[in-house]
Amino acid sequence: METIHLRIQDVCKSFGNLRVLNHVSLDVPQGSFTTFLGPSGCGKTTLLRTIAGFYTPDSGEIYLGNRFMNTVPSHLRNAIMVFQDYALFPHMTIEENITYGLRIRKMPKDQIQARLERTVGYLGIGNLLDRMPGQISGGQQQRVALARALIMEPELLLLDEPLSNLDAKLRINIRAELRQLQQRLKITTIYVTHDQAEALALSDRIAVMNEGKIVHYGTPQELYYHPADPFVASFIGKVNLIRGRVTQHTLEGTWVDVQNITLLVKNHFTYLQPQAEVILCVRPETVRIVRASGDREENAIPGYVTNFIFEGATIRYWVNALDQEWVVDVFDPAEVLPPDTKVFLRLKPERIHLLPGGSQK
């Protein structure tokens, strides 16, 4: 059993009339990389800042280890944050920026120096120390901001969309470095982002947030294949959502009726009663697409291609089937199916996820 490092219990926070955090509870394991993921305005940054101590929760509790944190002022928390705009102090050199926190702690000079060398070593910014923040590039600023946090050997590392100001290529490089560094240093890290690809690539755990609530908290795989609701399903990755009705449960799995087409789902969703309205979540890459030739196939839906994009490794098709638009990704395509081609969409029974229906638009 992993140890819980950060525990957030029933936290609420409002700004004026606007409730930004609505009964949020969360346990973050020691040494994990946890991401708060959600659209803008979902409360993820507020939650992060509440953990940092910039905001005090209106109600609820925050524990770090066994310490009750609500009453600890932000400067005594050692939950160090890397800001979205890096917040490098423009009036200090890079070295002064990085060592700022240790100097505030009045750490002896030789120790500061030792830590400084180690930290800039990790990040490869040793040659920048004499410069001013305005004189270095965005990617370098990002590393400096990270160095300024890491040198503190924080109990908790808080990252507020730290990659959002970088260009795409740099973002992917730094993302990988960040993950390696975190795994090496084993610092419990909380990462805030609205980029689901980033979240999937980096995280041990992801908490998907929406409208001030955590809607799903789990591993990337859990979130991807077994999302808790249609919001999570469609926020993470691309998904086809289809309305259906449970017909029966058999040894093979759960049977679903979609507009008189019977589909097998090779997972047992026995909590769903027969006749229950359901939503089928089907990921585009789990669907096979074949030219319609004669008989209807098992677990297949007829339709026709409306459009496609060739993306190199994949072709993405838009297929009209059951009066709705499907997205299908085909890897290593042998041929290109032009629009209006009649096709079958073959669904893998073990890759269909069912959600209780009724509320989905």
Partner: protein, 536 residues
């Protein structure tokens, strides 16, 4: 040359700008400069009295600037960064000293803090002599506190909040945070505010003429050369003496301090969670703000009392007759209001246009416009007044006795502030905004109306208000150019004071204050938000 072909309107505007600056700033300045002879310069410079007053001026400028900036910073900090009560009220009160017509506000200090003063003598039983450097220091500190405080409020508000969050996050708190993050970031702005205060203290003659006693400063000496000895050459030399340091200060502020500013997004007011201030700090700040506000209120209250009692300072029987008399004869109030509105609007249009063109275009004469637009900030009022009196009472620019001469003098005296604000704003507005609009199919008129005007509105109104306030409260600029036909209120106040009508003078000053404040209120209502009045 290519400009003329490609953009005839732009060429025309640049022509008008350069011509106006030549005619209305450079020409009168040169006239004053050429008036005294070499012997006049030597006579003034060798006279120990004026050597002393130069030192006195520098001394009082340093003292007042330090204290006004220090208290102004505390004031601004308390208003923007703490949760002390009555912050809005404190802010409102701190605007009052911006409106200081000559004589009567200073007289109010004597009334309160003199030997026979209501507070010093009647309340505290002290025998204090307010006259001298200490009284002047006191009055100038209060008078220029609002300028300093307004500038620094803007500076503090434009520090990105994440920097302070970051500092706190890394373990700094309270005074350590202030010392290592907040103050160093605000420092260039503080320096800018201090220099702005210094220029104004240097040129101010209203307070020293009433309360400096035997402590003579250059601005009053220049004034008295004319009033006491009809010696224009001496006044010109002395005001040139003022011009030198104030212009140096201005250049220093412009080219050194502003370069060191860390503030990138000025004027943007960011929501920052006000942190709970330590209890005793909170009370100290509150006490300072409270005392300063109380002081300001008392000074202006004393002034209002002067308008409503029989004999200010010796007969406290209430009366309405002074106010009635003032209201029954008011051509000068109308003149003051109209001239100042015109001068304010003219100054705003001129300075914002100049700022727009200088920051957006490259052309021959650009540096000239830039330099000449900031020059008036350093010109003492008496200097410009003399220049206009010499230059525009004869052909080819014969504006004697007209509204035009007063409006033009007030207008060009005030272009520097608006120009500075304008330059600051245009440097931050990306030209791509209007390019984007044009790209989306908006025509020139539409771009101007929908993109440029909303962006210019802020700096325009702040330029207008600052010019208006300075225009309606100045005496030194107008005293050499008004006649009975274009007389303004400050001139009448001076005459009432010399005739011993202190009650009437107080009533007239109050009326002027109410008008000025009313206009500020209307502007605020029209804009629906705070106008950034001073920016460095």
């Amino acid at each position: 040359m290519s400009t003329r072909v490609r953009e005839p309107v732009l060429f025309l505007v640049i022509g008008v700008l350069i011509a106006s600056l030549m005619v209305f700033v450079v020409y009168p300045s040169i006239q004053v400069f050429l008036y005294p002879s070499g012997t006049d310069f030597i006579k003034i410079l060798m006279n120990p009295r004026y050597q002393r007053s130069i030192l006195n001026s520098l001394y009082i400028v340093v003292l007042s600037t330090l204290s006004a900036t220090f208290l102004g910073f505390i004031y601004a900090y308390a208003i923007t960064r703490t949760d002390i009560p009555f912050r809005k009220f404190f802010k409102g009160i701190s605007l009052l000293p911006l409106f200081s017509p000559p004589f009567m506000v200073a007289f109010s200090y004597i009334m309160l803090f003199g030997k026979n003063g209501l507070i010093t003598s009647k309340l505290l039983g002290l025998q204090v002599n307010i006259f001298g450097w200490h009284g002047l220091w006191f009055a100038q500190t209060v008078a220029f506190l609002p300028v300093a405080s307004l500038v620094m409020e803007g500076v503090l508000q434009s520090i990105p909040p994440s920097l302070e969050y970051a500092g706190r996050n890394l373990g700094a708190s309270g005074f350590t945070l202030f010392r290592t993050i907040t103050f160093p970031l605000a420092r260039p702005g503080v320096a800018g505010a201090a220099l702005l205060v210094a220029i104004q203290v240097l040129a101010d003659f209203g307070n020293p003429i009433m309360i400096s006693g035997d402590f003579s400063v250059v601005a009053t000496e220049a004034w008295m050369r004319v009033e006491g000895w009809a010696d224009i050459a001496g006044a010109a030399v002395l005001s040139l003496l003022l011009l030198v340091p104030s212009f140096l200060i201005f250049l220093f502020q412009r080219y050194w301090v502003s370069r060191r500013s860390y503030v990138t997004i000025t004027g943007k007011i960011t929501q920052i969670d006000i942190q709970k201030t330590g209890t005793w700090i909170r009370w100290v700040l509150f006490l300072i703000c409270f005392s300063l506000s109380l002081l300001i209120i008392l000074v202006y209250l004393a002034l209002f009392m002067g308008a409503f009692v029989e004999g200010w300072g010796f007969n406290w029987t209430p009366t309405l007759r002074y106010v009635q008399e003032i209201l029954s004869r008011s051509p000068e109030l109308t003149n003051s209001l109209l001239f100042s509105i015109f001068a304010g609007a003219g100054s705003a249009v001129f300075s914002i246009t100049a700022a727009y063109i200088v920051s957006r275009k490259r052309f021959f004469g650009r540096r000239f416009i830039d330099f000449t637009c900031i020059l008036p900030a350093a010109l003492p009022g008496i200097f410009l007044g003399l220049g206009y009196s010499i230059s525009y009472t004869k052909p080819p620019f014969d504006l004697y006795g007209t509204a035009a001469i007063v409006v033009l003098a007030l207008m060009f005296w005030n272009i520097a502030m608006g120009y500075q604000t304008g330059i600051g704003v245009f440097q931050q507005i990306s030209p791509s905004l209007s390019e984007a609009a044009s790209n989306l199919g908006a025509g020139s008129l539409r771009i101007f109306r929908e993109i440029e005007i909303p962006l210019i509105k802020g700096p325009f109104f702040s330029a207008f208000i600052v010019s208006f306030i300075r225009a309606i409260t100045t005496l030194s600029v107008v005293v050499f150019i008004v006649t009975q036909k274009n007389v303004v209120t400050t001139f009448s106040i001076m005459n009432l004071v010399s005739d011993g009508f202190y009650g009437k003078a107080a009533a007239l000053t109050c009326t002027l204050l109410i008008i000025a404040f009313g206009l500020l209120g209307i502007t605020k209502l029209v804009l629906g938000k705070n106008v950034v009045l001073f920016k460095v």
